[in-house]
């Protein structure tokens, strides 16, 4: 086993990396036909002659996908080509129904942009974007028998439901200058893309379902010696690690590849330019096919489709729909909401930012919204093993719940019970409060009677209070709360006790 580590590799080499991110668009229909674009249906139920590539069938471009691609391109600061073409990428594979993929080649719709990504410590790193182009996804192969891989399988099954699903592929320029922060920058870049596509509403951004997938290219070159410009040092041979499909895996894959390549280079062995497979379980990569034997895809313009020619007016109209950059939005919200660094980071990591924002928009105070989403609701989601947005509670519910607390209709304890009811599907917070009879007892005469009863039961307390030990009132408050099954307003109860004792609070 080598003693090489990522940190040591970074001390001796300068990493250069690039990332290709595939974003599955959430259009209602597929890229070139009218089939439903939905995840999780029975195999081969969302197919038609077009996406099955039956003889005679022809593609038609989904305008909504073009719109999504342009909006994404604009969000990445790209120029939008006045006329761009689809091209055929020819290769044989059973999951590719036509044995060519319709993609874009020399004329991508979106090209030359840049994206700022913000690291955890606030450092901003600018990533150059080469292009963002449209293409269709392939079907999905399942290898039966053996270890589940293609080698040793007795046969393979193909599900074409995913075939023809619209994708946008975002390709970066080679990224230099990140040094030891390469893994962090890569992760932040993919996270930013994910945040952008969610903010645009063009993809659900779910990496665990493959809605956002990354291929990571990495090479190492010697560190510049004193007086030498690092940018003058030629790039090393790169590997391309395919299908790295979580933020954590991006960091791990870069750690692994940097370490592996550093080992090879120090041993005087060449790094082979190749694609590599990522193994989530072991956190390692293994060799795929070598790029030297790479296929010749014989690209040529897709003759079944006309060029994509968005009018300038339309592009400008779409530019007006581009949401704020996620990092800028975060900085602004942090300021507006007066969140601490920790509050903000936790909310981001829990993917709760837009839920909190929506709750605030519905009238909740930011801290209160954060408290509910990051507290009670985060615990419930965790217990149920789902994400926050899978819970049957809306930002409007949270705002309403907090409103009921602020109005004094319920207290925190009752609010938790109300939320429990909402999560159980009993209706909105107001409906649960009504149906479960959770309202705070605010009728003074009822409270006074309960206070008197409690004082009578604990006659020594009154004297203690009158002696100045005001905290002794707590025992009476507790008794009253118990007697009213938590529905009393504790503050008001305390006031009544002090009144009875003839002490001002």
């Amino acid at each position: 086993m080598s003693a090489m580590t990522y940190d040591k590799a970074m001390e001796q080499f300068d990493p250069v990396f690039g990332i290709e991110v595939h974003v599955e668009l959430n259009t209602k229909t597929k890229m070139f036909c009218g089939c439903a674009n939905e995840f999780g249906a029975e195999p081969n139920t969302q197919v038609c002659p077009v996406c099955l590539g039956l003889p005679g069938s022809m593609p038609v471009v989904n305008d909504k996908a073009v719109e999504s691609a342009i909006r994404l391109g604009l969000s990445l600061g790209c120029s939008i080509r006045e006329s761009s073409r689809f091209a055929r990428k020819n290769y044989f594979y059973p999951d590719l129904a036509k044995d060519y993929q319709i993609s874009q080649y020399d004329e991508p719709t979106c090209f030359e942009g840049s994206l700022d990504v913000v690291l955890d410590d606030g450092e901003v790193f600018t990533i150059g974007i080469e292009r963002a182009h449209m293409e269709e996804d392939a079907g999905k192969n399942t290898h039966v028998g053996g270890t589940g891989g293609i080698q040793g399988a007795s046969h393979s099954l193909v599900d074409y439901n995913r075939g023809g699903v619209p994708l946008v592929e975002i390709v970066t320029h080679p990224i230099t200058g990140a040094g030891a922060r390469t893994a962090e920058v890569a992760r932040a870049y993919v996270a930013t893309i994910r945040d952008i596509v969610k903010a645009l509403g063009i993809s659900d951004g779910r990496m665990e379902q493959g809605s956002v997938r990354a291929d990571v290219n990495l090479s190492l070159r010697p560190k510049a010696v004193a007086g030498e410009d690092q940018n003058a040092v030629p790039f090393g041979k790169r590997s391309e690690t395919k299908n790295v499909n979580s933020l954590r895996a991006i960091e791990r894959a870069i750690h692994f590849e940097a370490t592996r390549q550093a080992d090879l280079l120090l041993a005087g062995e060449p790094v082979v330019q190749e694609t590599r497979h990522w193994h989530e379980d072991t956190g390692s990569t293994t060799s795929g096919r070598s790029k030297e034997q790479a296929e010749d895809y014989r690209y040529f313009p897709e003759p079944d489709l006309l060029p994509v020619e968005p009018s300038r007016e339309w592009v400008e109209e779409l530019r007006g729909t581009i949401p704020e950059h996620p990092a800028k939005m975060r900085a602004r919200l942090k300021e507006e909401w007066a969140f601490s660094d920790t509050d903000m980071r936790d909310a981001v990591n829990a993917d709760a930012l837009d839920l909190i924002a929506a709750s605030v928009a519905a009238g909740a105070k930011p801290q209160a919204a954060r408290k509910w989403w990051m507290g009670e609701l985060a615990r419930t989601a965790n217990d149920r093993g789902v994400t926050l947005r899978d819970l049957p509670v809306t930002p409007q519910d949270v705002a309403q719940l907090q409103g009921l607390v602020d109005e004094g209709k319920i207290n925190d304890k009752l609010a938790r019970q109300a939320l429990e009811g909402v999560l159980a599907g009993e209706g909105s917070p107001a409906e649960v409060v009504e149906s479960r009879g959770l309202a705070v007892v605010s009728d003074d005469s009822a409270l006074e009677a309960a206070v008197d009863e409690a004082l009578a039961a604990q006659p020594d307390v009154l004297a203690k209070i009158q002696d100045g030990k005001v905290q002794a009132a707590g025992a009476i408050v507790g008794a009253v709360m118990k007697a009213t099954r938590g529905q009393a307003d504790a503050g008001r109860v305390r006031e009544i006790i002090l009144q009875r004792a003839g002490v001002e609070g």
Binding site: P55, V60, F92, P94, D99, V158, R298, F300
Partner: protein, 501 residues
């Protein structure tokens, strides 16, 4: 008793309307004719007697009930096997699709069904429309009804022969470099390649997507016009389909028959004559020009210098697109499968066995032309030639309304004569290919029989894009004048076929 197989589609329409004949009678007459002569002609790969008669019965019942029916309702039709037909085998002339029954209808198939035309069956063709003789069909050649030892043209030889043998009054063809017009020329029938995008390609098995166009085949210009209007029109399933009204072909044909062509300027393409053109073919062509002049047209000579590169450009673009279009025949989802253990070996073995030589030749050519490092020199240069040819046409159409030439340099050659000489075979399409490269419409109609062999020659009319109607007007005018000399349609002069009992 009328032999309805000899009637024009327009005559059938009138007779159906007047009640003189029923669709079942028409359909049965053609089915009987197919049974009698197709053993010798082999125009059909599949005959759907039951389906055709069922449609005919429905139409007759609807007519009896007083329903309003489409113009061609009840007129039977033959369909080139390149068009997918749900529930009816579709092979594109290839063994690799033997037994495949499409799960869907092509747009044109659907239009024929909506027009309530009984579909007699599917016609023979060169495999995937690659050829000029039907000799490259995976199912054996079609024979020219004018001389059974000769080619009926290709790739649509089956459709043309079915018309010349009176097995069908109308047929569907597809034209990538002349596959409608050249068979029409050598069988003394009429064939039209519409403007690119004028007829939906959805459901037509693609050969070269940027060149392919479906079109009507008939025995008269007016019949072709009737069918053209049924086939044409915008289709949201074909992104290259033109979003504009179907040209008024029938009106134009009827106007042409009135015989006045004064003010019409006709350009003779200088490059499409001379060396390689049979004397008898040229003689009939020039007689045709004289007829047009007599009707008042002005005839001028025009030059299209880039046409000399058309064949070379065509044989780069077509194989390139075809190599990609034919990749889907991989044994995974439909058609032939030759099991060989692994998916790669199965794909390779299936394609080795399922494709014929000409298809393999063009796939190899196209794969090479698109390869990295060769793309610019081959595919890229061919696209530039295409632009030059479009410019030649644009310049020529500034001087005249339509352009004309012989459709093919020769009358039909003998089966087997050019099978081992692909270049000689390819030269047969030298006059038809430029229209495909430019996307403009073209028509072939009979110009007569060549003196030296008594075999049919064709007259080609080309019009600017979207101006399909012009060809119908001029074609119908010429057809009427020629028929005066012939004492009726030329097709009627075809030798009687021996009828099998």
């Amino acid at each position: 008793m009328t032999d309805w197989t000899r009637a024009s589609a327009a005559h059938m329409v009138a007779a159906l309307k007047s009640g003189e004949v029923t669709s079942v009678e028409l359909t049965q007459a053609h089915l009987d004719r197919i049974a009698a002569v197709d053993g010798a002609v082999h125009a059909f790969l599949h005959v759907d007697a039951e389906g055709a008669l069922a449609t005919a019965r429905d139409v007759d019942a609807a007519r009896a009930a007083g329903e309003e029916l489409p113009e061609l309702a009840g007129v039977p039709i033959a369909v080139k096997d390149i068009l997918v037909t749900q529930g009816m085998p579709t092979t594109a002339g290839s063994k690799i699709l033997e037994g495949w029954e499409p799960q869907y209808d092509a747009t044109v198939t659907r239009k024929l069904r909506e027009a309530r035309m009984p579909i007699l069956g599917k016609t023979n063709m060169d495999e995937f429309a690659m050829g000029s003789s039907t000799e490259h069909s995976g199912y054996g050649p079609t024979h020219n009804p004018w001389d059974l030892d000769r080619i009926p043209g290709g790739s649509g030889g089956g459709s043309a022969a079915s018309l010349a043998a009176f097995e069908a009054p109308l047929a569907i063809g597809s034209d990538t470099g002349g596959s409608i017009r050249q068979p029409a020329s050598v069988t003394a029938t009429v064939g039209v390649k519409p403007t690119y995008g004028g007829v939906s390609r959805y459901g037509a098995i693609a050969l070269a997507s940027s060149l392919d166009q479906l079109g009507p085949c008939a025995r008269t210009v007016e019949d072709a016009a009737l069918l053209h209007e049924v086939m044409g029109g915008h289709d949201p399933m074909d992104a290259t389909s033109l979003d504009e009204p179907v040209p008024s072909c029938v009106d134009a044909a009827r106007q042409g028959r009135e015989g006045d062509l004064s003010g019409v300027r006709i350009g003779v393409i200088k490059e499409l004559s001379g060396e390689g053109y049979q004397a008898g073919v040229e003689r009939r062509f020039h007689e045709g020009l004289d007829k047009l002049k007599a009707l008042g047209a002005e005839v001028v000579e025009v030059s299209c210098p880039s046409f000399q590169y058309a064949l070379a450009a065509y044989y780069l673009i077509l194989p390139s697109e075809a190599s990609s279009n034919l990749a889907k025949f991989d044994s995974v989802r439909f058609g032939m499968r030759v099991e060989k253990g692994t998916v790669e070996r199965t794909m390779a073995a299936t394609r080795a066995e399922g494709f014929g030589d000409e298809v393999k030749r063009r796939i190899i050519l196209g794969t090479y032309a698109l390869s990295a490092g060769y793309y610019d020199a081959y595919y890229g240069s061919a696209q530039k030639v295409r632009t030059l040819i479009q410019r030649d046409f644009a310049a020529a159409f500034e001087q005249c309304d339509v352009l004309v030439s012989p459709t093919t340099p020769t009358t039909p050659f003998k089966l087997g004569e050019r099978l081992d000489d692909p270049l000689a075979m390819y030269l047969n399409d030298v006059a038809t290919i430029p229209a495909n490269l430019a996307g403009i419409p073209g028509m072939s109609l009979p110009s007569g029989l060549a003196d030296e062999d008594g075999l049919p020659a064709g007259f080609q009319i080309l019009a600017p894009a979207h101006e399909d109607a012009r060809m119908y007007r001029i074609g119908a005018a010429l057809e009427k004048e020629l028929a005066k000399d012939w004492g009726g349609p030329l097709a009627a002069q075809a030798p009687e076929l021996e009828v099998s009992k």
